[in-house]
Amino acid sequence: MEPTDAELIRAVLDGDRESFEPLVRRYQARVFATARRYARREDEIEDIVQEVFAKAFQKLASFRGEAPFEHWLMRLSVRTCYDFLRQHQRNRENTFSDLSSTESDWLDRFVSDPDDADERAEAARKLVERLMSHLSPPARLVITLLEIEERSVKEIAKLTGWSVPLVKVRAFRARAEMRKWLSRVARDKYL
């Protein structure tokens, strides 16, 4: 029978470093999926995941075991991703001028008939990715958690460490920011 998370954590805290490896193996897929929401390049994603597990290893003593280890690790992952966004915010794109032909076609299809534009299309996915890369770090984080992952405001407050009113304020600002970028796309393309 495989050891539980609590047993592995106890062993690591007692000095058995190798017991951390099964924990990494168990949760690395989830951390990778989270990191891929905020970073595009694979080397950046791997750096984020390594950073998450390094922090988890260092701060393992602060895990009190009241909630599942996975929840604690996810909080750490989201905060590390947010730090990554803040460190790289200067690299954010500022224009929407270079839409690819497939993205442009998808938008044309949407303008002529919104129901005709398939949201599962690769062009739509690329367009969202591009849109998200324009948003400020708090806006991107809040839109991802609230709108895309459909988490509640309370859950977001727990994950990010922000207060509930702050999450609400940032969600309001994030939607406005997103709308601003969408109107810029419309203006650049059709005016």
Binding site: V12, L13, R17, E18, F20, E21, V24, R25, Q28, A29, R30, F32, A33, R36, R37, E46, V49, Q50, F53, A54, F57, Q58, K59, L60, A61, S62, F110, V111, P114, A117, E119, R120, A121, A124, R125, L127, V128, L131, M132, I143, E147, I148, E150, M178, R179, L182, S183, A186, Y190
Partner: protein
Amino acid sequence: MNLNRLQNKLIASARANPPGDRVPYAFEKRVMARLTGIQPLDQWTLWSQALWRAAVPCLLLCVALAVWSLTTSFGIETDLASAFEQSVFAPLETVQLAEGW
């Protein structure tokens, strides 16, 4: 262009295309190699780190309050002194009044 509709459509697209969770081969070995030389911090170290981090804002707050109290207390110093004197001598005054009766 209906921007509301476009926004909803794009959000729906992001929901329909969740990111993959594939992991590079033997990634856990790379993580463990990175952890060489890193020691897990004990509870006391974590606490002391947090307290040290809180020390600077607390010190700044103390300095700001000290400056504020020094700059605002000059005008009311005499008032405070007379108020203190009044409250100290108030029982004596009532005794004197009672004796006068």
